[in-house]
């Protein structure tokens, strides 16, 4: 079995006295699509933020592509170059056009020449179906369009792993589909993805594995057909029945 691209062992995180993550362990293989589901407050977003060092953690170990994640050390920047993150509220930079948003990191972090950044940005915009919006500012784009630009922006760094933190939760129902389609295309092209979402249809279609989290622990994990249709754990069953 090949070395997993991400391994999380015994992850513990507390906010003061409240333990948000109580010992999480799992691994993700290259090209795997892992879907994480659960109620709000179960620690899913916090977990993602620990993986790319945006949050500190109290105990445990996270290794991304051979690098141990430690927000206090310079190595965390290498981790962030390999990991792309998509936020619930897109977080595009409002003062830059779509193209400039995508070019910023390749230019300033990787030091690529401007011409190559242009080429990369245009190719990615075409890939997410937004080539004609290259010179538009985020304020003029719909939520779905902004999120697709955000995906292109993350892809510009050619990450090995992409984290999606409820990418469609803040979208109008009409635009959810276009973002999910982009994510499906991404998965089909072989990207390793961890997706926190409520979109169980996406999980069934594209997911290789589902993790159900509740109260800071992984309650159950398994293949989508199992978790969604015949969950073993009563808490999982409760959640699935409530959502479906």
């Amino acid at each position: 079995m090949a070395e997993p691209i991400l391994s999380v062992e015994g992850l513990v995180k507390s906010y003061g006295t409240h333990q948000v993550l109580q010992g999480i362990s799992f691994a993700v293989q290259t090209q795997e699509v892992l879907v994480i589901i659960g109620l709000s407050g179960s620690g899913k977003s916090t977990l993602l933020r620990c993986i790319n060092g945006l949050e500190d953690f109290s105990a445990g170990r996270i290794v991304v592509d051979g690098i141990a994640v430690d927000p206090h050390r310079a190595s965390v920047w290498a981790v962030r170059q390999k990991v792309g993150m998509i936020f619930q509220h897109f977080n595009l930079f409002p003062h830059l056009t779509a193209r400039q948003n995508i070019e910023l990191a390749p230019r300033r972090v990787l030091g690529l020449p401007l011409a190559e950044c242009h080429a990369r940005a245009d190719a990615l915009l075409a890939r997410v179906g937004l080539a004609q919006f290259a010179d538009k500012y985020p304020g003029r784009l719909s939520g779905g369009q902004q999120q697709r630009v955000a995906i292109a922006r993350a892809l510009a760094m050619q990450p090995r792993l992409m984290l999606f933190d409820e990418p469609t939760s803040a979208l109008d129902p009409e635009t959810v589909g276009e973002v999910l389609n982009t994510m499906k295309e991404l998965a089909a092209s072989g990207m390793t993805m961890i997706v926190v979402t409520h979109e169980l249809g996406f999980a069934r279609e594209v997911g290789d594995r589902i993790l159900f989290m509740d109260g800071g622990v992984i309650v159950e994990e398994g293949a989508p057909e199992v978790i969604l249709s015949r969950p073993q754990n009563p808490r999982t069953r409760q959640f699935i029945q409530a959502v479906l």
Binding site: R49, N52, L54, W77, R80, Q81, V83, G84, M85, F87, H89, N91, L92, F93, P94, H95, L104, A105, R108, V109, Y137, P138, G139, R140, R153, A154, M157
Partner: protein
């Protein structure tokens, strides 16, 4: 019987009036530049992780905000001569106005920094943009947009404050107006027009500021 308003007065004194206006505007521009520099410094001090720097920043801002500009102007002008440094009245005035204005700028900058959402910084970090890069390319442009109206008010305030420089004999417009008034006793004409000059300057500044705001930030649309 004196005529109340005498237009020939202005034609006769046009050279000093023009030079006075020029000095006023130069004072204003220089003070704005100095206050921006001190404002940035004051903000960085106040936001520092070292408590000594924070105390310094806070003291600077509180002292400047609770003393009148005139007191500070005298302190700088007379004080510097005590220590043996001789700056021209113009430079003393720019220093006094700029350092005092810097305290207000620091608070404006601080407000703007806090207004930029934490999520923007997280997005920058997730893209592996280091803190300095994030500040320059992500945060400062957004801070500038938030701070722009308040900065405009501060610029107007500084330009109006240049009139105090007349007290230490800087040959700006208020000073020249006093002299013309003393020589001709046409106080009403002189000070009425002086007031109108300032009103016009403020209108021009405000219009310019709003135009720049539209040109620079108008295309961004709704966000921030």
């Amino acid at each position: 019987m004196q005529v109340l308003f005498d237009p020939s007065l202005f034609w006769n004194n046009r050279t000093v009036i023009v030079s006075g206006a020029e000095v006023s505007l130069a004072l204003g521009a220089a003070s704005v530049a100095v206050s921006l520099a001190f404002g940035l410094a004051g903000w960085l001090l106040k936001a520092s992780k070292t408590s000594a720097f924070r105390w310094l920043g806070n003291s600077y801002i509180e002292c400047m905000r609770n003393t009148p500009t005139l007191v500070y102007l005298y302190l700088v002008y007379f004080g510097l001569t005590e220590v043996g440094v001789t700056f021209s009245p113009f430079v003393s005035a720019v220093l006094a106005l700029g350092v005092q204005g810097g305290a207000y700028m620091a608070e404006i900058i601080r407000g703007a920094f806090n207004a930029v959402s934490e999520e923007q910084r997280q997005a920058a970090r997730a893209l592996a943009l280091r803190p300095w890069m994030s500040l320059m390319h992500v945060e400062l442009p957004q801070m500038l947009r938030v701070a722009f109206p308040a900065m405009g008010n501060q610029v107007v305030s500084l330009v109006l404050g240049t009139s105090l420089a007349s007290v230490i004999a800087v040959p700006e417009l208020t000073y020249q107006s006093q002299i013309i008034g003393e020589n001709t006793y046409r106080y009403f004409s002189v000070f009425a027009v002086l007031a109108i000059f300032y009103v016009l300057i403020v209108q021009v500044l405000n219009t310019l500021w709003r135009a720049i705001e539209r040109a620079w930030f108008g295309r961004w649309g709704a966000t921030v």
